[in-house]
């Protein structure tokens, strides 16, 4: 049986862990709120672009734009994997990586782009060509995403890739996320009800403007994926830290019980020894 001192030491360390997990949970909750706000703020921009493009899609033929056109005869594909930078968020990264591994199995000729350190750490040993890596922290902004999107688009236009996909975690609520694999290039439009079609004057010309818009659409899609994945990450971390805190609490409770029993046993033993000693003196 453990000595009293050992048990107390374990209680202490469980308490320390509980403090840390509790703090991490609160930090994650605050970050989650911020990440959600960012998603909300990004929405008008994304919606507007989608709206404009939905209008165009009704009349445009796909062959006109390099980012919509399919690259036939090209085998190589690219994958953008958006994970977290840090661990301690349950199965968040593992699930994303599982999905990525599935894709790797299907497509041997694959270039990888990473946003988030964990994905890079876990997947680099598979020997795929790594094109680009970015940290996925709260400082990541439009420019970082833009750079990556530009790079992928450029390679696509130069017919290096047949397809570019992204894997990320879609935020549903703080308890639920969904792993999503989405095709980024060639751009596929979700058909929406045709918007009111205005006869626009395009400057310098229609193709240039629409091309620019499609590029923007690609960037927005990627940016949105990054924001979603951040919100998911913090959501998952919040939940898993909550669980860790609860577990630590359970552990402290059972250890305290054990400590009390041990103490009780020690006292009982001592009393018995004293009584035994006293009896021995009396009888002697």
């Amino acid at each position: 049986m453990a000595t009293l001192r050992e048990v107390r030491k374990r209680i202490k360390s469980a308490q320390n862990i509980q403090q840390i997990t509790k703090a991490m949970k609160m930090v994650a909750a605050a970050k989650l709120r911020k990440a959600q706000e960012r998603i909300l703020h990004a929405r008008p921009y994304a919606d507007k672009i989608r709206e404009v493009i939905a209008d165009l899609v009704t009349k445009a033929e796909p062959g006109r734009f390099p980012l919509v056109r399919e690259n036939k005869g090209v085998k190589k594909e690219a994958l953008i994997i958006i994970t977290a930078d840090k661990g301690l968020c349950g199965s968040f990264n593992t699930n994303l990586i599982k999905e990525a591994l599935n894709k790797m199995k299907d497509t041997p000729d694959l270039n990888l782009f990473f946003i988030g350190k964990k994905g890079m750490d876990l997947l680099k040993k598979f020997g795929k060509e790594i094109e680009k890596f970015k940290f996925n922290d709260r400082k990541i902004n439009w420019f970082d995403v833009e750079e990556m999107a530009d790079m992928a688009s450029e390679n696509y236009i130069n017919e290096k890739y047949a397809r570019v996909e992204i894997i990320y975690s879609q935020f549903q609520n703080s308890l639920q996320q969904k792993i999503v694999r989405k095709q980024l290039l060639p751009v596929v439009f979700e058909k929406e009800e045709a918007a009111v079609s205005n006869e626009f004057i395009y400057e310098p010309n229609e193709d240039a403007v629409l091309n620019d818009l499609i590029t923007r659409y690609v960037k927005t899609t990627l940016f949105r994926a990054v924001l979603e994945s951040q919100a998911s990450e913090h959501g998952v971390r919040m939940v898993s830290m909550e669980m860790a805190t609860n577990n630590a609490g359970d552990m402290i409770r059972s250890l305290t019980l054990l400590a009390n029993k041990t103490r009780q046993a020690a006292i009982t033993r001592e009393i018995m020894e004293i009584v035994g000693g006293a009896n021995a003196i009396q009888n002697g």
């Binding site: 703020h41 008008p44 921009y45 439009w142 205005n198 004057i201 395009y202 400057e203 927005t220």
Partner: protein, 142 residues
Amino acid sequence: MAKTFELSIVTPEKKVFEGKVVSLAAPGIEGEFGVLAQHAPFATVLAPGVVDIKHEDGRREMMAVSGGYIEVAAGKAVLLVETAERPEEIDVDTLKRRKAEHEKMLKARNREDIDYDALQAQLLNEISRLKAIEILEKRKRV
């Protein structure tokens, strides 16, 4: 009273402005243009520069924007830009200092712990904002 139209300026990070304005001047990729109420449907790509807004009450406001897209249709103008900042939001001195710093770091290129691509992107951003400020200053003097 002058006729107004709806204007909204949105960036991927937030909605910067939404409201009724009398006129708008923006830097198109083929030169600056103005928009008044009842403008014909129009769409173009924007270059980095300064957007000049005239409010209903005659107040003028300028904003530094990076490139983007503008669409004018049916009494509404929508500006989709990557960044839009009011001059008072930009700290010129800090910006200049940061620009110089980044330029130096970029030239050196001798450290492994620095993400040079990110640096380059930041630098471009700083340059375009400084340029916008410059234009703003010039306008004020006129």
